[in-house]
Subunit: 205 residues, 2 copies
DNA sequence: TTCAATGCTGTTTTTTGATACAGTCTGGCG
DNA sequence: CGCCAGACTGTATCAAAAAACAGCATTGAA
C-alpha cells in the first residue's frame, strides 16, 4: 500500500529526527514541526503509517516510533559478528559480557569466513600491519599452521600473535622487535581460540 | 576517568538496549533490569556516567540517554562501494573501466564516510599498516590536512601517500624507508582525489 | 448518494518518565 | 578514627507523553 504525500512528509520527519537527534520524535515534536493544533493529528498519521508498515508503533512507550526503513534487524543479507573488546580475564572469549558491539560485513569475502571480531589492543603486531585498536576478524577453530596469525589463550590472557611450531616446540611470535616470543610448554594452559582472517581499520593516522 | 564495574554494567545495558530495541532505556527499564527498588538508583548512575563522558544526558527528555560510544542507529545503512583496482593511466580514477568489484559495508563506521575503495598495490605504506593488496576506503574530497593519508594523482599516476605541507611546499611521503618522498611543485598536474578513512584486509600472511 | 478514508480540531484521562530530597550502608584512604 | 564516594532505598512531585473519545470538512470511488 502506498503512502500519501502527507504521510511521506511525516515519515521523512521521523527519519530525519532519528538521524539528527538519535531519538525518534514525540507526538508533540511532530505537532510543533507541522504546526498542528492537536496531538491527535500526529497520532492519526502515526497509526496510518503503522497500518502501512512504514513504522512500528510501541504502545505506552515514550518515543516508541520506530521507522522500519532504518531498523538494524532489517538490514540486507549481511551478517553480524560480535565485536569483542577488552577480554575479561578468566571468562571465555565469547562470553556475552565481552561483547562490545556488533559489526556488519560480508563474511564471504574472507577465507575461511570469520565468526567473531576482536579489537586488538597494543602494538605487538605492527610489522604484520595490525595496529592498536584495529579490528581483527577471527575464524573460530583450534587448528592452525605454523606462520599463521592466531588468537591464543595462555591461562587467563588472550593475545593475537603469529603461531610458530617446529617439531614438538610451539611458540607465539609478536611482529614487533620490541617484544619477545612466548614459548609454550605442554604444562601451560594453552589454547588456540581462532585464526585471524582479516583486518578492519576504521581510522587512519 | 575510569568507570567502576557497576557503571560499566549500566553502560553495557544501555548500549545493548539501543542495539536491540532501537531506543535507549528509561530509568524504569534500568530499575527493572537491575532489580533496583528506586528510580533514583538509575538516575545516580546515569549522572555518574554523564560526568565521566560515557553518555550524553538530555534533561527533561524521555529516553534522553545517548551512549557516546555507539553510533546512533545508522546500523541499517549498508552500502555498496565501487572497488577500484589497477588504475588505468590517464583515465579518471572513478571511471567505470576501473571498477574491479563492489564491496558492501557499513559506511557509518568510518569518519568521514568512504565513497569508494581502492586496492593498494605495493608496499610503500607498510609503516602505516597499509600492506600490498589491502583495500583502502576513501572519502572523495580535494581537501586534506598535512599528515593525513591521501589518494593523490600526479599526472597519470595515482598513489596512496601521506600528505605533507609546510608553508607553500607540498610533498607526498611514503611510510617506508626504502622509498623517497615526492615533492610537488606548482607546475605539476597534481590533485588530491580523496582522503583515506579506513583499511580492509581480507587475507593475513 | 452513500460509504470509506484522509486529515484534521478539541478535550480528557491515564501512564510514563525525569528529577529532587532525605536518608542508609559499605569499603577504601589518609 | 573520621571522612568521602559509590551504591543504593524510599518518597514525592510534576511535566511530558500516549492514547482514547467525539467531532467535522474533503475527496474519491462504488
Amino acid at each position: 500500500m502506498e503512502l500519501t504525500a502527507r504521510q511521506r512528509e511525516i515519515l521523512d520527519f521521523i527519519e530525519q529526527q532519528v538521524r539528527e537527534n538519535g531519538l525518534p520524535p514525540t507526538r508533540a515534536d511532530i505537532v510543533r514541526h507541522f504546526g498542528f493544533a492537536s496531538p491527535n493529528a500526529a497520532q492519526c498519521h502515526l497509526r496510518a503509517l503503522a497500518r502501512r508498515g512504514a513504522i512500528e508503533l510501541r504502545s505506552n512507550q515514550a518515543r516508541g516510533i520506530i521507522p522500519l526503513t532504518v531498523r538494524p534487524t532489517h538490514a540486507g543479507g549481511l551478517d553480524f559478528l560480535p565485536l569483542i573488546g577488552r577480554v575479561t580475564a578468566g571468562t571465555p572469549v565469547l562470553a556475552v559480557e565481552n561483547h562490545e558491539d556488533e559489526i556488519q560485513l560480508d563474511r564471504s569475502r574472507f577465507r575461511p569466513s570469520p565468526d567473531f571480531a576482536l579489537r586488538v589492543e597494543g602494538d605487538s603486531m605492527i610489522n604484520a600491519g595490525i595496529l592498536d585498536r584495529d579490528v581483527l576478524l577471527v575464524h573460530r577453530t583450534p587448528e592452525a599452521r605454523s606462520g599463521q596469525i592466531v588468537v591464543a589463550r595462555l591461562g587467563d590472557e588472550v593475545t593475537v600473535k603469529r603461531l610458530r611450531r617446529r617439531g614438538r616446540a610451539t611458540w607465539l611470535e609478536p611482529a614487533n622487535d620490541r617484544y619477545d616470543s612466548i614459548s609454550v610448554t605442554g604444562a601451560d594452559d594453552f589454547a588456540i581460540e581462532g585464526l585471524g582472517v582479516g583486518v578492519i581499520r576504521t581510522r587512519l593516522g
